[in-house]
């Protein structure tokens, strides 16, 4: 039935039953999915991801800086709980951050998977037919050659085939050739995006099955990888204590060397933790040197040297000479530099009352105007300054205490002044409370133990992403077309040869060569086209019979 109205601009929808006429839930989902997988939304999500990471770098985060978080609470008492509520102290584990990257990856998957199918499909289909009017392509050239059309086309096919183009020749007599190249670009693009997904999965793998632990060990001591003996233990979601690798490590010795002259006097030059370890109870003992940048690898777990310090050795005796404390006590380097270190000694089993000491260990001591300071980090002239306390340490009940701090509530100072001790010296405490001897010092090393099953996959996917990226940037998808016509009266009009022009109707043929790049946002195809054109022409001239046909 003829319709005199102008053609509608929008396609009329097919007739649908009334029950399906509304926009149902599935349709809303479909609309949402289309939106999610659009480039625009991907762009917005990328911006949100970048923006969301900013507070994670500015505010102290619970994962690595708990002390900073506590400090923030103290200095911003009103703001801190609100920020906590928004997840700002654990940005990268917060649900809203997860929502952003999960949506981004859903968008990624929704884009990439159909394109993978399309790429696989296009690998099977041939390039399209050559257009009739090659002169209208973004890049085109034409020239004459003495070869007849069929041989000219064969030469063109040889040249283009030699460059790796995929060819399609005309079945009928119209003498054209299509060539396409550069499928690897899309493959690289897909590889890159899928590799990013792989990186995310690897990170999740580590979060589920990996763990991290810290241990401070004094030289001469040993420890095993059990939860009760580690100082800190951060298991992944599915990790239990039974999953810990059962190794034992003994810190035979720790050495640190420092620069002794020049502008960097006192800067650390090298650290070395010499260890003996066994991978499992009863296993063969091996030795290794753990240094910064050189972790120990044992049983799929890596042990890193993170820090070090001094542990002065004290012996505390009661008034009757009974030894109630004897051991190396790790002290922690203070911010003042040169390894001036602070720590406490707790003697809970002294009688008549418990004893506590707050001390400063100075590796190379000088007295500057009555103040004790360290001028060099090596223990060339070690001195300890102690303040003694007696009373109740608070260790007999209640919550666990820090080993680096005294609970002063039940303690009172035994002597008014701090007491200085050189190695070997003893301080007899007033009131018959006992005596403390500064025997000497040891060094301690702090080790971090990590197990991350997602580490190697993340690396491999990272390299895949990089490879895909390079491929997608370096390879261009491009098509070139060749039409060869006999030079007839209408040959100059640029349209394809009509069925009437027979090959060989004149000497030689006119070669029209054109091309375009599918995604050439950066340009550069022009140079390739020009060189291809020149090469084609040269090949034709080379093959041409001896007589010249003029220009």
């Amino acid at each position: 039935m003829t319709d005199l109205r102008p053609a509608p601009e929008v396609e009329e929808p097919p007739a649908i039953p009334a029950s399906e006429a509304e926009f149902g839930v599935i349709d809303w989902l479909r609309w949402a999915w289309r939106q999610l997988t659009s480039m625009r939304i991907a762009l917005i999500l990328l911006f949100l991801l970048a923006l969301g990471s900013v507070p994670g770098s500015m505010l102290p985060q619970e994962g690595g800086d708990e002390a900073g978080v506590i400090q923030y609470y103290k200095s911003h008492p009103a703001l801190a709980p609100l920020l906590n509520h928004l997840g700002m102290f654990n940005v990268f584990g917060a649900p809203w951050f997860a929502a952003i990257y999960l949506l981004l990856f859903a968008s990624l998957v929704g884009c990439v998977v159909p394109r993978t199918f399309k790429l696989a499909g296009s690998a099977r289909t041939l390039p399209p037919r050559a257009p009739r009017n090659i002169g209208r392509l973004p890049h085109s050239a034409s020239y004459q050659t003495a070869l007849p059309p069929s041989s000219a086309l064969a030469v063109a096919a040889r040249v283009l085939g030699g460059h790796g183009f995929r060819l399609r020749t005309s079945g009928d007599g119209s003498a054209w050739l299509s060539a396409e190249k550069g499928y690897l670009r899309e493959a690289g693009n897909l590889l890159f995006h899928l590799s990013l997904l792989g990186v995310l999965v690897s990170i999740a793998l580590g979060g589920l099955f990996g763990y991290k632990a810290d241990k401070l060990v004094v030289a001469g001591n040993a420890f095993s990888d059990t939860q009760s003996d580690l100082d800190e233990f951060y298991p992944g979601r599915l990790v239990t204590a039974a999953d810990l690798a059962p190794f034992t490590i003994k810190l035979d010795s720790f050495s640190a060397s420092y620069i002794t002259s020049g502008p960097q006097l006192g800067q650390p030059a090298a650290f070395n933790a010499h260890v003996t370890y066994s991978a499992y109870p009863g296993g063969p003992k091996r030795t290794d040197d753990i240094q910064v940048n050189h972790p120990l690898s044992v049983d799929g777990v890596k042990v890193y040297l993170i820090g070090h310090g001094y542990a002065p050795v004290f012996k505390v005796t009661e008034a009757n000479g009974q030894v109630v404390y004897d051991g190396a006590t790790p002290f922690i380097a203070a911010a003042s530099g040169n390894f001036l270190s602070q720590g406490v000694v707790k003697v809970p089993d002294a009688s008549p009352e418990q004893l506590g000491f707050s001390g400063v260990f100075v590796p190379t001591a000088v007295y500057a105007g009555g103040t004790l300071a360290s001028i060099f980090p090596a223990a060339d002239r070690p001195v300890v300054s102690l303040i003694a306390y007696g009373g109740n340490l608070g260790m007999n009940s209640g919550p666990t205490q820090s080993v680096y701090q005294l609970d002063m509530a039940g303690l009172k100072q035994l002597a008014a002044q701090p007491h200085l001790l050189a190695p070997g010296q003893t301080w007899t405490l007033p009131g018959g409370k006992g005596a403390i001897t500064f025997v000497g010092y040891q060094q301690w090393a702090s080790l971090t133990i990590t197990h991350d099953p997602g580490q190697l996959p993340a690396l491999l996917f990272g390299m895949g992403a990089l490879g895909g990226l390079l491929l997608s940037f370096l390879v261009r998808r491009r098509r070139v077309f060749v039409r060869v016509t006999a030079p007839g009266p209408d040959a100059g009009l640029g349209s394809g040869p009509g069925p009437g022009s027979a090959p060989g109707s004149g000497p030689g043929s006119v070669v029209r060569f054109g091309g375009l790049a599918r995604t050439d946002a950066s340009g550069g195809f022009e140079a390739e086209f020009a060189s291809l054109a020149a090469e084609l022409r040269a090949a034709h001239e080379q093959q041409a019979p001896q007589q010249e046909t003029g220009d």
Binding site: S57, V292, N293, D452, S522
Partner: protein, 372 residues
């Protein structure tokens, strides 16, 4: 022990580079003021005939020798049709109707040296001085490396001097390859400013690294970051130039300014600038990606985890995401052109913030800037 004498030699070369670069900037500016009054030829190596008849006007002899100086300078190079190269396979109209000339070959452009010589004495001077400046700069960086017995990018001063060196080398190549000397004023000028600030504000004498940094991964990771920062630096300058030209063009279109014969008229077209900036980012982005991966490998060796959201790591990630957004923006309708370059400049802003603020002021595992 650092070699103090070599450290002084390195510093001397750095000052020399600064002076030579400044003279190069003056030469390029001189080209604007006094150079040949033709549009500067930023072209790719092969010219595409915008119209077959235009080429015919140039002369059929274009195909005989394949080389013609005037052919290079006559046309502006990029046909409008290539802007829609995203159309797949369909015949595109644009390159002139039915070329009636049987022989039309895309002409081959001048080799770079001849193009420079043909561009006038100011450009010649500018290019020669830029090359000399790059040599001096490179020597400064290399002697610094010998002075400290390691790769010379271990603290902030070394990092900035090295990245500007990579930026200058990269841009020198761009100028030669793409005949982009019209942009020399801006990029080399920016290098002068940054290098000068580095010398005056954050100079540190040659010294050793703390043990935490003694790893061959230092060379790999920081090298990649230095190179890519240098490249992004160039892209940022090009982005600023793009925005300036675009702003001028819009003012002309609104009738508020004259399309004069001034500096802007001598610059490459908006499209060419856009492409140049895009290609620069395309070069830098994989290097940055590689640098982040290498950094993760180094972090795992040194700190026991390959990613820990350390502030510097986080900002490197943010930079990566923003540059990724730039690459996506160019494929999104409505975001090409001006907006995309805002994104690119935002990316460089995050990069600069990372170097200047995060590494210096926010304590984390990365605080090796060695400043002050």
């Amino acid at each position: 022990m650092p070699n103090v004498a070599l450290g002084h030699v390195s510093n001397d070369f750095m000052i020399a580079a600064l002076i030579i670069y400044s003279l190069a900037v003056l030469a390029f500016a001189g080209d604007f003021a006094f150079g040949r009054p033709k549009r500067s030829a930023v072209t790719s190596r092969a010219q595409v005939p915008e119209r077959a008849d235009a080429l015919a006007a140039v002369g059929a002899s274009a195909t005989a020798s394949g080389v013609s100086g005037s052919a290079v300078s006559g046309t502006s190079g990029v046909p409008a049709a290539s802007a829609v190269s995203g159309v797949s396979g369909a015949v595109v109209s644009g390159a002139g109707a039915g070329g009636s000339v049987p022989d039309s070959m895309p002409p081959v452009a001048l080799p770079p040296l001849r193009a420079i010589l043909a561009a006038g004495e100011w450009v010649r001077a500018g290019m020669a001085l830029s090359t000399a400046g790059v040599l001096a700069h490179a020597l400064a960086v290399i002697t610094r490396g010998f002075a400290v017995h390691r790769a010379p990018w271990g603290n902030m001063y070394e990092f900035v001097t090295a990245l500007t060196c990579f930026a200058a080398i990269f841009f020198l190549w761009v100028m030669i390859r793409y005949r982009a000397w019209a942009l020399g004023v801006f990029v080399i000028g920016a290098v002068v400013v940054v290098l000068g600030l580095a010398e005056t504000l954050i100079y540190t004498a040659a010294g050793n690294l703390v043990p935490a940094l003694q790893s061959y991964w230092l060379s790999i990771h920081v090298t990649a970051m230095t190179v890519s920062t240098g490249v992004f630096f160039v892209a940022a300058v090009l982005g600023v130039v793009y925005l300036a030209v675009d702003h001028h063009n819009r003012r002309v279109a609104a009738g508020k300014a004259q399309p004069g014969n001034g500096i802007i008229a001598r610059l490459p077209s908006l499209e060419q600038l856009d492409r140049l900036a895009y290609r620069t980012v395309v070069f830098g982005f994989p290097v940055w990606t590689f640098g982040v991966i290498a950094g993760a490998i180094w972090a795992d060796e040194a700190w026991g985890r390959y990613w820990g959201w350390d502030p510097v790591e986080t900002w490197a990630f943010i930079t990566w995401v923003v540059y990724a957004a730039f690459l996506h923006a160019r494929a999104t309708a409505g975001w090409r052109g001006r907006r995309a370059h805002y994104v690119q400049l935002l990316g460089f802003a995050t990069l600069s913030f990372n170097i200047l603020v995060v590494q210096v002021f926010i304590t984390g595992l990365h605080s090796y800037a060695g400043v002050g």
